[in-house]
Every structure is written in C-alpha cells, then in structure tokens.
Subunit: 330 residues, 2 copies
Amino acid sequence: MDHPYLMFLGDVADQLAAKTADGIVYWRAEWCVGQVRLDGCAADVRLPDMSIEDGAKLGAKTMVIGVANSGGFLPDHWIESITRALELGMDVASGLHVRLADIEPIRLAAEKHGRSLFDARHPTRTFATGTGVKRTGKRMLAVGTDCSVGKMYTALAVEKEMQARGMKSAFRATGQTGIFIAGDGVSIDAVVADFISGAVEWLSPDVDPDQWDLIEGQGSLFHPAFAGVSLGLLHGAQADALVLCHEPTRQHMRGLPQQPLPDLKECIDLNLATARLTNPNAKFVGVSVNTSHLDEAAAAAYQDKTEQELGLPCVDPHTTGVGRLVDAMD
Amino acid sequence: MDHPYLMFLGDVADQLAAKTADGIVYWRAEWCVGQVRLDGCAADVRLPDMSIEDGAKLGAKTMVIGVANSGGFLPDHWIESITRALELGMDVASGLHVRLADIEPIRLAAEKHGRSLFDARHPTRTFATGTGVKRTGKRMLAVGTDCSVGKMYTALAVEKEMQARGMKSAFRATGQTGIFIAGDGVSIDAVVADFISGAVEWLSPDVDPDQWDLIEGQGSLFHPAFAGVSLGLLHGAQADALVLCHEPTRQHMRGLPQQPLPDLKECIDLNLATARLTNPNAKFVGVSVNTSHLDEAAAAAYQDKTEQELGLPCVDPHTTGVGRLVDAMD
C-alpha cells in the first residue's frame, strides 16, 4: 500500500469503531494527510477534515477505510466516496470483513481507473507450508496472555526504540491495523490453517545478520478459539526473543466469560517449551503490560511484583517505554 | 455424500496414488460397488472392474475420485468419465486439490443433470470461532508424534471395536480419506486459521451422554508446519480420552529431514498440558503404534518397552486390535 494515506471514517457511531484509524494515526501520523467524515460521523482521529478532492490535491495515494461498522459490511452510502477516490487516482484499502472487489461498482471503478484495491483482512497470495529451517537475522515475537493485550503496540514501540538507537529493525505485521502501519504484512488468522507457520516464514524471511525483525503476535496459546494461530505463528517466527504482553485488569479471556486468564509464569513456560521446536535458543527478554486501567501507584506496584516473581524486566510501553526490553536484546 | 460409491481410479501410475481409495475400501467395502480404471491404470483396490454404466446399474449414488495424481490436478482425459457419471445420475466426490466446480465442463454437467459435486479437501461452509464451552457426550482424539502415523486408522479401529461391543459411537473425520469413510466431516487443515477449533466444535457437537465421538487427529504439536492445526483441533475436540499414535521406525518429521521426532513422553506431556485448557479431565488411555516395518519379535519388544516406560497400554490396531484402548474408556 502506498502512502500518503487519506483516512476515510464514514459515519460510524463511536470512536471505538475507528480503532484501526486511531492506530494508524498514532504510529504513522506522517503518512496521513487528512480525514474524510460523512454527515453524522461520531469518530475523529484528529487529522485535518477534508474532502476526497482535497486529499487527492494533497497527494494522497491510498484512501484507507480504517473503521469497522457493526457487522463488518460496507454500507451502500459509502460506495460513492470510494469510487470517487478511485476516480481521483487513489488506491483504496479496507480493514472490513467484506472484500472491496466483491462490491460490483467498486470493482468496476477500480478496473476503469486502473487502481488497486487492498483488503487487509484477506491474504491474496498463497504460501508454502512451514519448514522450521533456521533463517538468518534476529527475531522478536510479542506473545500474549490473551487477545488485545498490546502485542502490536509493544512490537511497534520496540521498532521505534531500535530505530532511535540506530539499530537495524523491521516491524512485521500479522493483523489488519499492523498491516496499514507497515504498509504490508499478512493477516495471519485469515490464512488457511495448513499454512500458518509457512506464511510467517514468508513474512519474516532471511534478513541481514544484525537485523531484528519485530513480529506482531496474535491471540494466545491459552485462548480456546485462537491458540492454533498463536502456535503456528510462534513456530514460524523462530523467535530469538519473546516478550509476554498482558493486561493486568482483564477478568477473563476475551469474549469468553467462562475462561480464566493464564498465570504469567505458566504462559511463559508454555510459549518457551513450544518455541524451542523451531528455535532452541528462544528466551523471554521481558514482560510488557498495559497499565492504563490502574492508577500510577498500583501500576508501579504491579510491575515491581511481576519483575520479582519472573526475574524479567516489566515495562509499560506507554508509560516507561521499552528501553529495558531493547537493552536485553543484544 | 451418499453411498454406494463407485471408485474411479483413472490411470494413475502406482498403488500409492490410490491411497484414499484403498482406505475407503478397507473401512467401507460394503459401500463400494466397483472400480473404474482407464487404460494404463496401475492401481487396483480389489473391487470388481466395471464401466461407469455398470456402476450406475448397480445403484452407485456417488462416483469417488479416490486417487491423487502428481500435482493434485485433474487430467483432461478424466473429464469425460466424470461428466458421464453425472449424466447417469451420480454425484461426484473428489479428494484432489483442484475443485471440481472450477472445471467448466464438470460444473456445467452437474448443473444440467441436477447433481452435486463434493470436494473433500475444501470446506464449503463457514464456522464460528471456538468457545471452549463444555459439550455433552464423550470424546476421544487420536494425536500423533508426526503426520501419517495412524491417527485415522486408530480412530476407525476404536469405532469398529465399540460398535462390536454395542457402545454408542461415531467417527468424526477431519481429513479427506476420513471424510469419504464417514460420508461427511471437515478437512480441518483447509479451514481458515481463525476457525480451527470452532470447526471441530461444530464437527463434534453435543451428543448423548453415553456416546463416544472418535475424532481423527491431524499433524502433530511437534511438526513445524502443522502444529497450529493440531493445537486448534485438540482445543476444539475437548477430548476426555487421548491416544498417542506413533510409527517407531520414522527417522525424522515427515517431509523435514532436519527435524527430529519428539520423544513419546514429551509428546504426551505437551498434548496433555494443552488439552487441559478446554478439558481439565483429559487423559491418555494408550499408545497406538504402526509396527508394519518391524518384524514380529521387534514389534512385541517395542510394545512391551513402551508400556513399561509410559505406564499405558500400547497396541497396534492391525495386529493386536484396540480392545485394550476401549477397555480404558469406561
């Protein structure tokens, strides 16, 4: 996907619906020229409001549909905006469940104007099955006790810190928001099951020996729905360094009220035991917690306790930064 | 898929190419009216040779393409046989990689004659994501140290033994040969990664409390390419009883010369640790080995040693039967 991006927010009902757009703007504000909001839009990602025509004049190359309406489909009244962007020479990229090319007027407009349609949730290429053969370069994988506990945020924070230190590094995206932020990647949970680890081997190929690939994790080995994805991703990543991500106030596994969260130590042990299948030298370099639901004192106490119990640095990327994780990745 | 089946062997070059047909005939001979072989066919599944017309007269309801040519595609000169079967009122089912409906003359013939096309490798329905919520009934899952070590064979042998004992049971197929044998099922490695465990929850739903669902496993938690599938399948199965399948002469993981086989104890421990996420009462009831590459004395010695080391019954379904596994499943 080419940037600059023009962020299309449609007329979604709340800010949460613009979570993907929020993430893109947070990590890649310099790629975003403005936001397009239809009448009644309740989301705002704090970019200059503009028309699609203005976005085109400012050089936007891709209009990004970085919102999710309930149901994941594309409302009919958004189609006109999308065909207009195509007509003005932009590609269009979407994070919706529906494929852009499955909507006839959009497909026709893209063909007519010679533009590309990207569906971040839908891998368009096929992959080989994994081999587990050792690749060159170094790899970090963010794993989690659950879904949505900061794996992408952590990997991106590590990338930023490494780049500030002049270390060679690349963020490798495995989910839709990450794919918009990286400009490419593989929506790993949408790959056919046989090819999970193979797709990750493709995503993070042989790189320079001194390069760190910072791979976004997905799900959790302890999530009854998604552990298969997490294990294939772990095996494909061949991580040298693992970071455990956690949200300390989470009461149960996401979406499953009956399913308790795993203990952090148990989660580290199982990730390590399984990671060693494809990298016998895999080790944890730290824990990354999202303490946004704790007050400052409680957050500090939680981090201290975790460090003592696990013997690993415990950071919150948002409040403490991830310098101590990078220190541990020589 | 409706039976009786007419087995189409085409003109494949060797018996190994008819592995699927062999499996179907071995387990469901009573469903098979005959075999159709084209000139030069080197495979023989020991059914009466006949024409497609003869098969139709004998009441065949589905012509099964139970062969794999190299590459997995469908040779052009097979098309005429397939359209003929459709014309004579049969459905056609295939285990090839290519979809029957993607071949224009076959799709058109099926439409014209109102017949169905089945592609065992390609799930045609969508699934919900897994929940891990406990289901009624009892479940056995055959897991393995590697791919192709007898998981399907073991599950089918247990089904046969349970039926001989008058126990309520059902074989649940997760691979193409198993699907032909069961008449339905889900080719689990072809499901989108997000839905692996959800598809298994669908495949083995709530059943009578005294029914055993005997679920075919796939891959291995220790296979770098396929462990994600195996873990999702394990979580979706919520197995009460696990059986470890193994081929004692295997030198390395299938297709990966650099990858050693896991130790049996290690394989049991990891399967058990992960199975407990969705069934805290999961336990191993035995080991099922394929000793066909050992002589009788070596096979017996291997089984004795395994029993002593693991404290579990060790059977070879082909030589000793699986009675001792069923004894352990109260």
